[in-house]
Symmetry: C2
Subunit: 253 residues, 2 copies
DNA sequence: TCTTTTTATTCCATATTGCGGAATGCGTTT
DNA sequence: AAACGCATTCCGCAATATGGAATAAAAAGA
């Protein structure tokens, strides 16, 4: 691992995180390196047009070379293909079926899934129209939508899928807030009786929600004592996919 | 200037130019460095998620970190602001008024201009609706449009602005091809009598035409003997703007 | 206006760090 | 089975990056 190169990336990330054009001193402090070292690396970055320097103020900012490389890089991203190995790892670790779902209108659709090791499974009716307020992954998809979307959705209709489904508008809104707070959602028989699900959000390079990753299994196997480790596992794998899509936890949009 | 960092950028550019996911050997050959050196740098790049490595084949490709940084970088690009100092340099070097124009429907609009040093100027009627087939910058804008656009445009109407304006459809089409071939356009009295213009295309990070940069002045000053140096100057400055917008001459889309 | 302070940039002696040839190991082909 | 092509790891050498100090330039303050 090459020190100077690592430091160079630290500088690039600093420029990404600092948001505004930054002075040498600011960057130097942020990455905790002497100004002369940072300056030398910045000169090299400038030469490659990975950073640019404002005339007059001498401040540095991210350069145009990153734009075309970013466009190139996004060609390689196919969410389903990226998701597959991660879902496989999640299925192995959790010992449950794992899946990735996305929003389609007012419905959630599963775009990729991997079966877990056990024979006893939950299999829903195929291609059923699944509303967003029932089930762990779909509640995740709903929770991270805009307030307008959520209000529209709630105002429209809340079908009682099972007797556990939350259909009271106020209760659902509070529940969605809590989900967003926690960073995960659970569902115990809200969509299919006897089924339990755990799900976490997946974000893209712009920090926008693109899907929900989760697991699902029989409630008699997914007992409450396992929740903590299952939640940890789901969150970890969802974050992994987010990262591979270019999500940067540190950059806030 | 730091050697290892420069080499790292060479590798990133190689991955951009090679298009497909590339093996270590390919990259190593492309950048003309020993495999062990390239491998070490790639490992560092991978650690920073600037490149990713395909499982199974071990091939390398541009990583997700570049996407979010690319998005960040594009925030800093404001074409007018970027263009201004370049237009100023062009005006100084050519001693004529310089300007940058963009397409708006079937018209060309000047979005930024810098005056040259001489008092004798060409000043067109303000905010006139200028068709795309009359004048150097607008012919550039037209020449780099899609064939459909050009055919639509030509089929519609070709107004005779001055007696020099090219209005015969076939003649215009051949002329536009030649402009694209040369990489610049000239206009001698095609839009305003007594005026001469020279213009060249400006491209963005995706290689798409975003505008035309050019100069304009009295024909009695912009005499044919000066054309070669003026054309060189215009092309040079237009390329400079393209580069600052992230255009990479080597990457073909 | 003249100091003082801050900030970017350049310089240079030092040893740390990166270098690349060679060795290893894995997987595929003959 | 042997041989090849490939990615990856190893390690002794010295070239290279390092960072403190000097310099220059520009703000801030008096």
């Amino acid at each position: 691992m090459v020190q100077s190169v690592k430091r160079t990336f630290a500088i690039l990330n600093a420029l990404g995180n600092l948001k505004n054009k930054s002075s040498l001193a600011e960057i130097s402090e942020y990455v905790d390196l002497p100004p002369s070292t940072v300056h030398r690396l910045l000169t090299t970055l400038k030469d490659a047009r990975f950073v640019a320097q404002e005339e007059g103020t001498n401040k540095y900012y991210l350069g145009p070379s990153l734009i075309s490389l970013g466009i190139e890089a996004s060609n390689y991203l196919d969410i389903r293909r990226s998701a597959h190995p991660i879902l496989a790892s999640l299925a192995t670790e959790s010992e449950e079926d794992s899946y990735l779902s996305m929003v389609d209108g007012y419905l959630g659709v599963i775009i990729e899934s991997v079966a877990g090791p056990h024979a006893l499974k939950i299999i829903g009716p195929p291609q059923s129209r699944i509303p967003l307020h029932a089930g762990a992954a779909r509640k995740i998809l709903l929770a991270y939508q805009s307030d307008e979307f959520i209000n529209d959705y709630i105002g429209h209709q809340l079908k009682q899928v099972t007797d556990k489904t939350i259909i009271k508008p106020y209760e659902l809104k509070e529940h969605l807030k809590e989900i967003k707070n926690q960073g995960y959602a659970t569902s115990i028989g809200e969509h299919l009786v006897d089924a339990t699900g755990v799900s976490a959000p997946v974000f893209d390079a712009m920090g926008v929600l693109v899907g929900g990753m989760g697991i699902m299994g029989p409630s008699i196997r997914m007992t409450p004592d396992k929740y903590p480790s299952l939640i940890r596992s789901v969150k970890k794998h969802a974050l992994e996919l987010s990262l591979s899509l270019g999500y940067q936890p540190s950059i806030k949009y």
